[in-house]
């Protein structure tokens, strides 16, 4: 997608969020209201002005080429992170990390099978030792409760 168009879409989203925040702030009591209201009004005004100038720039440079932005690849990699988080939710950190590491190293990093298992083993060992030593809490799973 065109970078300039994406910037306009993003700015519009920010503008809409500020307007919504300002309207919502009106429902708060006086002492809770003033700060978010001031900030969201300022945000709405600045984002509104910026949005208009960006649209005008886009209209002026309609025929000029603009940088394109990658969409699919970042979505795939975000999908990996989201998938990993979902698997932690169901199976717990240890099992999910093992599965995630092996799958990622084999598919994305093109590791040979042995190296992928070997690296995963070391990572899980370091993770366990560090969390025991530093008493680091792990996200719990709803299925296994660990």
């Amino acid at each position: 997608m065109n970078k300039q168009t994406l910037n306009i879409i993003f700015t519009f989203c920010i503008f809409a969020a500020f307007v919504w925040a300002a309207v919502t702030a009106l429902t708060f009591s006086r002492l809770a209201q003033f700060f978010p209201l001031y900030v969201s009004i300022a945000g709405s005004v600045v984002s509104g002005i910026y949005l208009i100038t960006e649209i005008m720039k886009l209209i002026k440079r309609k025929n000029e080429a603009s940088h394109s932005v990658m969409i699919l690849k970042p979505l795939i990699y975000t999908g990996w992170v989201v998938g990993y988080v979902i698997s932690i939710f169901f199976f717990g950190l240890f099992i999910a990390s093992a599965a995630y590491l092996i799958a990622f190293l084999l598919i994305e990093s093109n590791f040979p099978l042995f190296k992928a298992f070997y690296s995963t083993g070391i990572a899980l060992f370091v993770m366990t030792v560090l969390s025991r030593l530093l008493d680091i809490a792990w996200p719990s799973s709803i299925l296994l409760g660990m």
């Binding site: 009591s29 002492l31 978010p36 992170v81 932690i88 990622f104 809490a137």
Partner: protein, 493 residues
């Protein structure tokens, strides 16, 4: 007082106490190295062990750990562009671009050396401030604290880069995110969508990791490369040390600024590195801050270790903790049978002075230890992204989870991370967002107290006017100077 200081040095150099200082240093470096963990986690870990301990040994352990967290956190900030803790966010701005150029060792050398010098200056400031601390701290009322918060926010303007509108919007987004949760003036929840997790607001480590680390993860994968775009590492640790020595005035200025900001309770140590970075950017000649200027590493790193010395003044002398770390330190004092307060300057003066020495010694040992680790750890920047990212993802998710031990931390990490990634792709500056977030609650709280207590009269306070003028100078001074110099150049031509 000098006799007491020498006596305290003798106590600190006792081999058994040095051993505990080293234990604290070891833990501090590990905690700093791991993104998401900070001094608060380190303190919480040590607290159960110091119950009933000799106060000199207990403080050696605790202060040894606190002193070097901001030394260890330089590694992830420079090598991966991920803040190791909240005090090393500004180091990313130039440290990471230097690592990209293959100059990670140079950046690390400068950062570690400056951390050491900053820590020593922080210790000296703590020592010198002891007699003057009381009147100074009581002079900071809410209007002054509000204006200091505004001074911090003005740094967002300085970091906006080429687009002031994007910078201002980024700062406003940060302020808006910071207003999520309970209002400081009244028991009322805002923008929580009835999620219990959001009632306390989002925590700083989650937002900092999300806004800086998540985009790095995705970018490293999409660009299929290592952090260092060069295939070999250039410039060693000593070159970085040389850079720091060449900029000794910047080191000194930033360290003193760090100590003074740390000294102010409630302002939040998380903003100290940004203030030093912004001040450095405004004051150095031929600034290329943000593009891999070594001075952009020197300024924040000199300030963040120095801050610890300043932060200990209100904590020890008045029992006012300026951060989560110092709040736990107060608990530690109680566990050792002590109480923060004026007694720390009378009957407990040797202990207070031993803290000063421990701070200085821990900074020296910590920096030397880290310097020996630079060479092997700097090689991380040569590892291709697709091999490093899966391991980093696990580390970052666990790090984010440590903030509240809640699933909300992980969800917030991903949601804010996506916002950070879009901002990165569209060239929106992210540091203003973080500054806005850090200062949102302080800005609201101090503004509200100022208005409720003083009406509009607080605006006539001389300190408020001075800080206000300073903000205006900071924001407009650069462009006015540029206009004057270009006019002069035109006249000469």
């Amino acid at each position: 007082m000098i006799d007491s200081a020498l006596e305290a040095l003798r106590i600190v150099l006792d081999p058994s106490r040095i051993l505990f200082t080293c234990l604290g240093i070891g833990l501090g470096i590990v905690v700093g190295l791991l993104p998401g963990l900070g001094g608060t986690v380190g303190m919480s870990l040590l607290l159960p062990f110091i119950f009933g301990m000799d106060p000199f040994i207990g403080m050696a352990l605790l202060i040894g750990m606190v002193a070097v967290v901001h030394t260890g956190d330089t590694f992830p900030s420079v090598l991966l562009g991920i803040p190791g803790s909240s005090g090393s966010q500004a180091t990313i701005m130039d440290g990471f671009p230097l690592a990209k150029k293959g100059e990670a060792s140079r950046a690390m050398g400068a950062a570690l050396f400056c951390s050491m010098i900053g820590g020593i200056i922080g210790g000296v400031v703590l020592y010198l401030a002891i007699p003057f601390a009381a009147p100074l701290i009581t002079s900071f009322n809410s209007p002054v604290l509000f204006m200091l918060t505004m001074l911090g926010l003005s740094m967002a303007g300085l970091l906006a880069g080429d687009s002031p509108a994007k910078g201002a919007l980024s700062g406003l987004i940060g302020l808006m995110i910071g207003s999520i949760g309970s209002a400081p003036a009244i028991t009322e929840y805002r923008y929580t969508f009835d999620f219990l997790y959001l009632s306390n607001g989002l925590s700083l480590p989650v937002v900092a990791l999300a806004i800086f680390a998540f985009p790095i993860l995705i970018t490293m994968l999409t660009h299929k490369g290592s952090v260092a775009e060069a295939s070999q590492l250039k410039g060693g640790v000593l070159k970085g040390v040389g850079d720091a020595l060449k900029n000794k005035l910047l080191v000194f200025r930033s360290a003193v600024l760090g100590s003074l900001i740390g000294f102010i309770p409630g302002l939040g140590g998380s903003v100290v590195d940004w203030l030093a970075y912004g001040a450095g950017k405004k004051t150095v000649k031929n600034s290329k801050f943000g593009e891999g200027d070594i001075r952009g590493v020197i300024a924040p790193e000199s300030a963040n270790n120095a801050k610890e010395g300043g932060a200990l003044i209100p904590t020890l002398l008045f029992g006012i903790p300026g951060s989560g770390t110092t709040a736990i330190l107060l608990g530690g004092l109680i566990l050792m049978g002590l109480e923060a307060g004026p007694r720390m300057l009378t009957t407990e003066l040797p202990l207070t002075l031993s803290i000063v020495w421990t701070l200085v010694i821990a900074n020296i040992i910590g920096a030397i230890l880290c310097m020996t680790l630079v060479k092997p750890i700097a090689k991380l920047s040569l590892i291709p992204g697709e091999k490093l990212v899966p391991f980093l993802t696990i580390l970052l998710l666990i790090g984010a989870y440590q903030s509240n031990f809640a699933w909300g931390d992980i969800i917030a990490f991903i949601v804010i991370g996506l916002l950070g990634y879009i901002m990165t792709v569209l060239d929106w500056p992210r540091p203003p967002l973080l500054i806005g977030f850090v200062l949102a609650i302080s800005a609201e709280r101090y503004y509200w107290i100022s208005i409720e207590r003083y009406g509009w009269e607080w605006l006539s306070n001389p300190i408020v006017i001075t800080i206000g003028a300073l903000i205006v100078i900071l924001l407009t001074g650069g462009s006015i100077m540029k206009k004057i110099s270009s006019n002069l150049q035109n006249q000469e031509v």
